[in-house]
Symmetry: C4
Subunit: 279 residues, 4 copies
């Protein structure tokens, strides 16, 4: 298991090609935010767009459209009720995130199932929050596990893996990851990334000022934004995880609590710093 | 009676435990904001979240959801009409605030009554603004007075205590507090905190630039956020009161009027300052 | 006619009394903003609250409530349709502003008429924008002219006074002001304030970068906020006019266009500067 | 073909006349933003207002009104459904922009057709985004081509001109522009402006950090704002194109991705800089 360090940022955050357009940096669809948890998908969208995804569409409850646009006119928006349009938008997506603030309603399980069934050979998928619980509860399965990432916290991992907290040893986690085939970002005090039956990376950063609602939604948005524009692999996911904590640690020097939205706010400057140092 | 000073901040604002998660810093439910006074509960939520509460749900009128999320995606939201969901959310709360912008409608009196009846042995309760008036008008009673804090201004205290303005001597206030059993934050030019039949603390800070609508809502949100994450006692309430004025005084050096939202904006930096000095 | 200078700010912007509460600095009601012009009353509200009014309620179309709260939770809000509540709120007002973005619908003429009829002996009234046109069109009259201020631009003044542009000489304007009895803030390249049949003050400041939609709404809000907390007289109106342009000139040093909302943003700092220099 | 440089900014961004009012700097109508793409027209409006247009009305779907006002109270707003009011507002416009986020619904084609038919001898028109596609699909025609600007990206130009990507040589583009008669801002890695059968200007600036959703909407808003207040000609369009990239390049020095809204935010300062250097 490798401890992540700044090398991963220099490796992943490449200089953008001079001849490019917004499509070059990926089409993203973010799905989440019911009436109660609308803020979650808004925070994911801020992280995704401010990390540099080319085109971002948010599928969420109608109640959240106005607040999303008030904060982030850069996002496009589709309502949960517009089934036909949802699948049109999904068809063109390079990366899909489902889960932040999605809730556990049956319709959302059906939507998740539909998305899993329609995943295409080139599409990457990030499954976060309530969608992990729904995936477990409804015993759903993956079409392209290697292109799929789960981002559970410890309780969601217990549910998904069937491992109780004490059973969540590195070895057991690796075995369960191998069974699922998907990449696992196991969020905790020291987040670990599992892939290819190996505990690939551990994140040495992060601080207790980051323990506040929305921090995971922001991380999920960053992972999605990174996958949209950089190479689609475990390194890219690890870079998002590491940068999320690195910014959180920097902000915690002056702030008792680190607001998730303040991490997203800082993304363009930090990413430039690591891209510039390298090139 | 002790004059509050910076000691109270060093005492209360502890360094966060390294191994922690958002639940560690408390689940908060904030209840308020009818159609007319929606801004009040938004300001409470900003103060609560920016002071570091772990997870914050706002129960408010549907009309306020969008503005809340536009300002503060970190909050979750439930509508006044969703009775079942309200009690589910309340069941898991560590600290509950009711009152900012709640208004005096009968349904709100019923909601307050329901909350008082359902208060649990471990739950702390802050009763502010209209909820103090409703408590008085409907002659409601407390299940766990020692875990309950009222934050009246002078007129609300007159109503709650039955003491006219001239009768509001320190001695009379102490007697009435003893009768109620709850902690009293009596807001005025120089806010006084009563508990255990004693005028525990007086706040020497504050300035007339803070005399603007929303300042009390912000204080109520801070008290709630502090109770969620620090020891649940009178010192913690006093620290919130003192810091609220300390920031207000700092901002008043450069600003003729101090906006309540600018106090909340400053919370993470000021709390870090006092936490850091100590550790 | 006196040229305004910084003296007027030192004279009007007094140090706030130590023993005070939000009521000390006035209860304001702002009326305006139909479906098309909602931004106007939002800008008035920002100017009013950031200039230091104690308690501000905005009466506006339902469509504008959410944006108002998203920008300014410090404001309270009432819908045009809630007639009973409107008059309850108006009864307690110290200063009322009607007009910004109100539009010319008949219902608005009725509302204006109702407000004029209900004006109380202690209440001050500011009539701006569409409300000036409605006042002229419906030939309405004032109950307390000396407590009323009109803030027309040149075309609105032509309509109100019956003076064509070429007839708008200083002498003719003075005569018409005497007839109306109300104070007149005649907005132009160099705004002039008329009262007591005299051209009291002329404002030497202002710049063409301020010629953008919303600048007048912001001035109306400032005048209202100043009347709410300072002595209710022509000097106070003049101080608001002068400060509005002084800030506009300062911002124009670095900005090609001066956004109205950036003037409001600067109010607390500028007001502090002039209050502090004096005391 | 001339490479654009800072000269164009000094030439176009004139010192504002001292005696002026908001009408002096143009009445603008911006049309766009359906339910899915509301953010696009909001970003155009921010660019238009912050570049200094005098009065700006946005015609958009009802769902977008609240977010528009929350970000930009300086804008006025009319709903797509208010046909009569739309044409009243259009009648008074100096410059009209149609297209950002408009979508391809049939009603929008009808609206575009209506606007083209009603264009007046003094009105300038900017056709962007979906409106270019609708113009091509419905084979619409222009009343005043010389007062009309299309702002296609390469795919939209292929559709409008009938030229495949490989056919889009400078010569072919010039011929097609001559046929259309309208000015063409052909957006790409290095944007080219065609007029009078000539490739007038090429923009040497711009960077891949600007390749993100909303960048074109912002440019369209800037062109519209510039035409509203400066001389209505190709130079003015070129100045907007050049400044858009110049600010984008400046922001890209510190930011990995350049948010469209951050370009608009910077407009007043940059425009002042070039206006000041000249005068």
């Amino acid at each position: 298991m490798v401890q992540l360090n700044e090398e991963i940022l220099h490796k992943v955050i490449t200089k953008r090609p001079e001849i490019s357009h917004k499509g070059t940096f990926g089409r993203v669809v973010l799905i989440g935010g019911n009436q109660q948890y609308g803020g979650a998908i808004i925070m994911s969208a801020e992280a995704c767009i401010k990390s540099g995804a080319g085109l971002t569409t948010v599928i969420t409850a109608k109640e959240n459209h106005s607040a999303l646009h008030a904060r982030l006119p850069e996002a496009m928006v589709v309502d949960f009720s517009e089934t036909k349009l949802i699948y049109q938008v999904l068809d063109k997506a390079d990366v899909i995130l489902i889960g932040p603030g999605l809730g556990l309603a049956k319709e959302m399980a059906l939507l998740l199932k539909g998305i899993l069934n329609n995943q295409q050979a080139e599409q990457w998928l990030v499954i976060d929050g309530s969608a992990i619980t729904l995936f477990s509860d409804y015993k759903l399965s993956l079409k392209f596990p290697a292109q799929t990432t789960f981002t559970p916290h410890l309780a969601e991992w217990a549910h998904l893996s069937g491992l109780s907290f004490v059973q969540q040893t590195n070895e057991n986690n690796r075995a369960k990851q191998a069974l699922l085939g998907a990449k696992i970002v196991l969020k905790s005090h020291r987040t670990t990334i599992y892939d290819d039956a190996v505990a690939y990376y551990q994140n040495p950063l992060g601080n207790p000022g980051m323990a506040t609602g929305g921090m995971g939604d922001t991380l999920a948005g960053m992972i999605t934004g990174f996958l949209a524009q950089f190479e689609k692999n475990t390194d890219t996911i690890a870079a998002a995880v590491y940068l999320h904590s690195l910014i959180g640690d920097a902000l915690a020097k002056d702030n008792y609590v680190v607001l998730p939205t303040s991490i997203s706010e800082s993304l363009p400057r930090y990413m430039k710093k690591f891209a510039t140092e390298r090139n």
